[in-house]
């Protein structure tokens, strides 16, 4: 990101999609899971503000982390100001741990900034988790 890149602030919600439901049964280590959950739905009217082409990579960043995903035109608009990432390891890179003493993290209503990430690749689920957790430990 450079200082001239546009910064787009939005309210992120995460949730289910039918493609994500298919991909979580036996496809989590495959490209299908990336295609199903490694994207962000943005209202079509806001692509100009963001200054990216639909389908290109963007960085979604919150107070809790950041992740590279593909920017996709939302088929469920208009919902300006709201962006959506399917539940999964990509969305959870930017979800915080506070549960308001209920046990439930705030998976919806996360303030994020989105910036273009030209040429950046969306990592696979397992590679992403290994990279962000340094892998597991020996018992």
């Amino acid at each position: 990101m450079t200082s001239s890149d546009p910064v787009f602030t939005a309210n992120l919600i995460t949730g289910r999609t039918i493609e994500q439901g298919v991909a979580i049964e036996g496809w989590k280590d495959k490209q299908e899971y990336i295609d199903a959950a490694g994207f962000v739905h943005i209202d079509p009217s806001e692509f100009k503000t963001l200054n990216v082409w639909p389908g290109s990579s963007v960085t979604v960043k919150s107070d809790f982390g950041e992740v590279i995903v593909r920017a996709i035109k939302s088929p469920y608009g208009p919902h300006p100001g709201i962006v959506f990432i399917p539940m999964g390891p990509w969305a959870n890179q930017v979800v915080g741990t506070d549960t308001d003493t209920t046990g439930m993290p705030s998976y919806k209503g996360i303030i994020v900034t989105i910036t273009p990430a030209p040429g950046k690749k969306v990592l696979g689920a397992i590679a992403l988790i290994k990279m962000t957790t340094q892998g597991g430990v020996e018992a």
Binding site: K28, T102, K108, V137
Partner: protein, 459 residues
Amino acid sequence: MRTVTDVVCPFCGTLCDDLEVDIDDAEKICETRNACIIGDNKFMTAQAPDRHLHPRIRRGGELVECTMDEAINKSAEILVNAKHPLLYGWSSTHCEAQEAGMALAEGVGGTMDNTSVCCHGPSVLAIQTVGIPSCTLGEIINRADTVLYWGCNPVNAHPRHMSRYSLYKRGFFTERGKSDRTEIVVDVRKTETAKNADIFIQPEQGRDYELMNALRVALRGEPLPESVAGISRADIEKVAQTMKDSRFGIIFFGMGLTMTRGKHRNIDIAISLTQDLNTYTKFLIMAMRGHYNVAGADQVSQWECGFPYAVDFARGFPRYNPGETSATDILARKEADAALIIAADPGAHFPIDMVRTLASIPMIAIDPHVTPTTEIASVYIPSAIVGIEEAGSAYRMDNVPIRMRKVVEPPEGVLTDKEIIDRIHRRVMELQGLEVPEVTAVKEPAEASAFDGILQRST
């Protein structure tokens, strides 16, 4: 070629029980009928050639294959050596495995939690506060003429819910199916479920609580401001009147309420709205449970120790205090020093800081497929798929228990969740110097059709 009928789908809380599965002479699943795309995929990927069938253990930074005995022994050692182990997941397996898990959690003084904690845990908290007027899905088929989906998207998450139970299905007092029903959808996006609605309400994100309170005001005929949560007074009064005018209404709600600001208070007010509506008509409310047996996990936990989820046995007796004893908070505070994860994938579905904690402690992962959780585990044990390779009990979203069928044998050497948990527990007892009871074989019901009969009556 043979066909197994009345198969129960082991994916979502709708627990569709009318699937047919064709199996060829080589015992390969070759086709399903009646399943949604997700259910069909679950059956068709069950026997994928690249499915991992051998236990693995972390050595030199990599997961390498090991024997089942080695994996079981190492798992038991991890749990016995831990001061505060976390046993989490349990929602994509049957009640019999959940029951075995409760015993193991008590035996190792661990915390037992299921995926309710990041699903309908807030709903449970609200139900414990204000109760819940609910029913079975069979009642909805036959009676509901107003169906409100609030913060849920069944077209995507419970694909056959609307056709089997809540919207299109023809019932005794709803002979014309959808034509006899009014569908109201409240969502911050115009989802596929919303596109189909007779009335669609699109509130500002995170302001469901205010909107439901406004509906309660409108029901009483009290004055409202021009708009609440971005919804005009006229629209709020229209929805309130539609609900009031119904003969039998139902609110289905999902993560749009439980994960949003307000959390359990959103459900509290949704139930209170339902209770208010019963002044004028019959109205009920139901949580759209996600994992096919997350409702069962709550049930088993309740009948075993009195609490539905987030149960801590560290002091030798069950303690329940979500926010303190919940898996999410324990991981966020880095309190667990070991974990057993089964039938869930927190590696993919917990916030990344919690996953970092999981990756930093000895962790056992039990799952039929490779997931982000299994790949950061210290020990990974592949398991048979309940509802496909193993029979067992599960609870539908309306808390109706349903017997799941077995359609094929699991791959050679692959144990069921219950067998794995029982074997770990027996080894734990040996390490603890306790007397290990003799194994008693669990008898499968002789006539599966006896359960099918119960099933049909329940709907």
